[in-house]
Amino acid sequence: MSTASGRTAHAKAILGPELHSRLAETKVLLVGAGGIGCELLKNIVLTGFGHITLLDLDTIDLSNLNRQFLFRKKDVKKSKSIVAARVAGDFNPNIKIKPIFGNIKEEEYDLEWFKGFDLVLNALDNLDARRHVNKMCMAANVPLVESGTAGYLGQVQPLVKDLTECFDCIPKPTPKTFPVCTIRSTPSQPIHCIVWSKSYLMGQLFGIDEDAGEELDEAEKQGENAEEIANLRKEAQSFKKVRDAIRNLTLNSSPTESPAKQAFLKIFKHDIERLLGMSDMWKHRAPPVSLDYEKIMDGTFWVGENGEGGAQKNGNNTNGDLQPIASTSTSAAATTASARVALKDQKKLTLKENLELFISSVNALSLRLSSNPTQTIDFDKDDEDTLNFVTAASNLRSFAYGIEQKTKWEVKEMAGNIIPAIATTNAIISGLIVLQALHLLRKSFDAKAYTKLRNVHIQFKPSVPLSSIAYSKPNPGCGVCRDVYTSVRCDVKRTTLGDIVKGISGDREISVYEDKRVLVDPDWEDNYSRTLHSLNVGSGKFISIVDEEGEWETVSVGIGGLPNQPSTTLPFILPSPLPKLVKKTKAPAPSPSTPPPPRASLKRSLPDDNDGAILVDLLSENIQNNSSHPDGQPATKKPKLSTHGKLKPANPSSGFSELRSPSKKRRLEEDGLIMMEGLDDKFEEDVIVIDD
């Protein structure tokens, strides 16, 4: 037997000659070259898919190597997609793998581009990108296999427009939110302090220089404590001096005026003292204590020093003994079996060690900024300096408020939303993805192939490792896959909104949206005469035409560029034939973005967040349990004692204005405060809980 035919002997015998020969011509898009992506790439190369496009925006990190087996230590910091394509490509030179080091949400990856694939496989780690690919696949009518893993659990789901449910048919949970005042002045749990130091303090000291006013304006509108807000405003303004010191680190500056010490005094002494001045706040809760730099350093900082150290009255000293806090404390974790061999990051730091870590991390970050004062540094769980800073700052704050302190190991997990990940689960899931993909491909010549499609979950129960169920029908109320999709090719600078909308929908009573922005409603049609370009509706975006009577399904129009023909004089080409309107089926339950929102809200409604039916939801609960509640009680009962209003996203006050402060939105989103406006997904990857 020749080696050439020998190579494919197994696959041919099993898949049959027909399916097997089809594979060589199949164009598949693989989105993500991480934990699942590496396994999946190997599998589809071995199975014989002929044309593979592999896209990933990430570079390789050392912590990937325990499962992303196409990468070696020498590859760290290189592009995942390029390295993966090279390694897998060496295995079979007959297969064409095109790596793309980029973001799937960029506008060049538009509807037409998606239509060029026979099949899309998702191996993504964040909700935003997964939803985006889902929408593009629904719009382009390309079958998609969705997947995700977390620890020992995983899930695979084949999605086909009009046949199965889509990714958005079942609402996904939105991350938890905290009131601004809880984060900024009255934390009661370690997570409050971690969120504060990662998204507020990091930004104030090392981030973009901006006025923190909007968030507070919004909090004020939501009815949070006005006096407290005024105080927080003052606090924010006084950051400037510290910021400047951090950006002008002189190596010989004396310790008394080092940026680290200035930052410490501002944050842990003066700001706390100012808060303490608001005596009303501390009537019913224990006040924080302000920290003393020198006394911590020489080990003489005592609990109850000021005679009031209220936060400690229920702390370690119920019997009234004064104990030096700076003495070595043993981590609670060290007494559990999980720390039989304690990792050094799992050691709980003493107060003094936290202060030292604070100083060294501020110095390190300061050094980086001093060489380039216009640079900014955001929290990144894999950036040791920022992780050290967040660990130290949140622990110092926790100490001041009498809250349990966390180890660096725990802070990394909480701040970075880290999900455990191992090779085994990814291997199982990626095997299942290919099987579902084969069923999808077989459809073109075997009508019964779709009966074999399954939604598969790997579960915790040892007795039934896999649970598989037949696919579900689309949710009639789904705001993504129930839309009627069409596309328009146009020059956005010469095409008005009216050209498109009137051309497609005629003169019905309608509202027009781009994502969640309202562009037109029946009483406000000014935008019809504006060009798409001026409305910031570029290639790759969708315009949704929503029937005001609720009688017809929404028509979603994908915007794409004109084909390259210099002779084309028309600024736009409408679809031909025009999309057929589809009568709405009565939606039994509210769902992601339907029904159309009330006009006043200027945005489409959010998904319900109380649905436990999807895996991600269950997982995030489990993870939480494992990290902070070893007893495994459902973590659904978080204290919600604050009577403050919830922080709401600072919605643009007019329908189509750009967000005024993207970086702030982003920071808040990372903490799960907002999930309403789509922004660059790169920054949201921490929000959802799937393996990277």
Binding site: T3, I14, K42, R67, F91, N626, G632
Partner: protein, 569 residues
């Protein structure tokens, strides 16, 4: 940076806290969050033998090498064929053809993790079984994929029960695997059920505190911060006193039983609210079932007391586990730290869930639980000291923390599940027809292979299914499979028609094709179970609880990737 330093150095040397974590911790960060440093240490000291270098076997190994297995030996006396090059990712494609399968695969596998030791062994396993028996028993786990039946039987007999044997068989989209051990003790089972808060049998300090609160006169904010366990203990004790018509502590252990009583009890909690929106009382009402869900000892844990008291049934164990169980049994009999409820309770563990409360109140409650669990731990340690074993505090803490979820599993010997007793198979055919049909078909194929009827069913010679599928009369093969399967069952038994037609057809089509997707899937699934065995964490597949006298499980995991399901027989 070198990340192949020893675990001890990597994890116990506390450097300056600002130091960058060592590369090893970073590399394994995501998995350490699953099985912790203790699991990692076990994995890194494990030695595994894998036979032979098939796509499935190397996929399994890949998933053990990546997380940092200590040592593996890959045994294969064959050379790489064209088919191997096409379906085994860890060979060097075209360049490997003609070279040793073991050596080529080990080279590819080791590239993934330089902290792992890997050795290629090009001997024939049949020879080794004759000449080097002792060496085979030096491994912790031996994994055999599609190994010829005769060889497998000898290997299994040699290894039982000290060395754990994992048998994997696959054919196209069908597969089964099993782990062969006598007994497997799991302390850290990572159970999803939590230990009891003992609301119904409150310890003295908690009861006293709950009864001391001036509910009607205390500050309204403090009132809204009372943690729900305190509310429940208070409400239940008041309910008991009313029923017993006493003003001093009640003697009863009674709880609301009927639907009406429960409803009234919930209303009582509601009536304790002083403002309409006190979320802690709402939470207490939602958790009221904890008052009438008695704190009991799970039956599986109780069974262990009997299992280890009649220890004649078990081999002498080097571990401290039986001693810990014995001390636990004594504790359950008499726990002086809980004078009101001295028996029938497992040691209290500090495992407070999140609840609506202020930090101060939460910490106060936490301390009460901690103080009580310390007392009970001391009682336990006193009992343990009579057992004359050395158990360090870390072991004791882990044991107590998991005492409600301890697991001792049993497995079967390979000869008892290949194919299994006629009676059991008959029973399984009626309850699990498709799983059993798959198992029977794979077992029948093994027999045919052993009889040389199905000569290609030898993985070591390199499968050649393209020609086989063409040459072999599939219908004849199906008939042979059927005849073989019938000998596994009581005379006169009928095979389930539909299921049998499908699985025997699937096997006749490709008796030993090692498909990349099936290999990937099995690679993940089997490696996962092996990791559970090595780390002694989480619950691997088994033939049931060791304490149970029932022998109604084979302990085999069956996989069908056409229909996408797995099942346990």
């Amino acid at each position: 940076m070198n990340d192949s330093q020893s675990l001890e150095t990597a994890t116990t040397s506390i450097q300056a806290p600002s130091g960058v974590p060592d590369p090893k911790t970073r590399r394994y960060d995501r998995q350490l969050r699953l099985w912790a440093a203790s699991g990692q240490a076990a994995l890194e000291s494990a030695r595994i033998l894998v036979i032979p270098a098939t796509a499935t076997a190397t996929s399994i190994l890949k998933n053990l090498v990546l997380p940092g297995l200590g040592h593996f030996t890959l045994m294969d006396d064959g050379a790489v064929t064209g088919a191997d090059a096409g379906n085994n990712f860890f060979l060097d494609g075209f360049f490997s053809i003609g070279k040793s399968r073991a050596e080529e695969a080990v080279k590819g596998l080791l590239e993934m993790n330089d902290g792992v030791e890997g050795v290629a062994d090009v001997r024939d396993i049949q020879e080794v079984l004759k000449s080097d028996k002792g060496w085979l028993k030096t491994f912790d786990v031996v994994i055999a994929h599609n190994v010829d039946s005769n060889v497998l039987n000898d290997l299994a007999a040699l290894l039982w029960p000290e060395t754990h044997l994992v048998v994997v068989n696959s054919a196209g989209f069908l597969a089964e695997f099993s782990i062969h051990y006598r007994e497997h003790q799991v302390i850290e089972s990572h159970s999803e059920t939590s230990a009891s808060l003992r609301i119904d049998q409150a310890f003295p300090a908690l009861l006293e505190y709950a009864m001391s609160l001036p509910l009607d006169t205390m500050d309204i904010t403090d009132h809204a911060h009372i943690p729900y366990p305190v509310i429940l203990v208070r409400a239940l004790e008041e309910w008991r006193r009313e029923r017993e018509q006493v003003t001093s502590p009640s003697s009863s252990t009674g709880s609301p039983r009927t639907t009406v009583e429960k409803k009234v009890f919930k209303e009582r909690i509601r009536a304790m609210m002083r403002k309409f929106d006190e979320e802690n009382f709402e939470e207490a009402e939602a958790q009221a079932f904890k008052c009438w869900t008695p704190t009991i000892i799970p039956i599986e844990v109780k069974e262990l007391f009997a299992l280890y008291s009649s220890s004649t049934s078990l081999p002498p164990s080097a571990s401290t586990f039986p001693a810990l169980i014995s001390a636990l049994a004594n504790f359950v009999q008499n726990n002086p730290a809980s004078p009101r409820y001295p028996s029938g309770l497992l040691p209290l563990t500090l495992s407070l869930p999140d609840m609506k409360s202020s930090t101060e109140e939460y910490v106060k409650l936490q301390k009460m639980y901690r103080a009580q669990s310390e007392k009970e731990k001391q009682v336990f340690k006193d009992y343990l000291s009579r057992e004359q074993v050395d158990a360090d505090d870390v072991t004791i803490d882990a044991f107590l923390k998991n005492s409600h979820a301890l697991k001792v599993l049993k497995g079967n010997e390979w000869k008892d599940v290949d194919p299994g007793s006629k009676e059991l198979l008959l029973d399984k055919l009626s309850t699990h027809p498709k799983e059993t049909a798959t198992h029977l078909a794979l077992a029948a194929a093994r027999r045919l292979g052993a009889k040389d009827v199905l000569s290609s069913f030898k993985s070591s010679s390199g499968p050649n299914d393209a020609t086989m599928a063409e040459n072999l009369d599939k219908n004849k093969l199906k008939d042979l499979l059927t005849a073989e399967a019938m000998t596994f069952l009581p005379p006169g038994t009928e095979l389930p028609e539909t299921e049998w037609r499908i699985v025997s057809g699937e096997i006749a089509r490709a008796p030993s094709a090692d498909l990349p997707t099936t290999a990937a899937f099995l690679g993940g699934l089997v490696a996962q179970e092996v990791i559970k065995m090595i780390t002694k964490q989480y619950i691997p597949i088994s033939a049931g609880n060791a304490a149970s006298s029932a022998n109604d499980q084979l302990g085999i995991c069956v996989v069908d990737l056409v229909e996408t399901w797995t099942g346990i027989l």
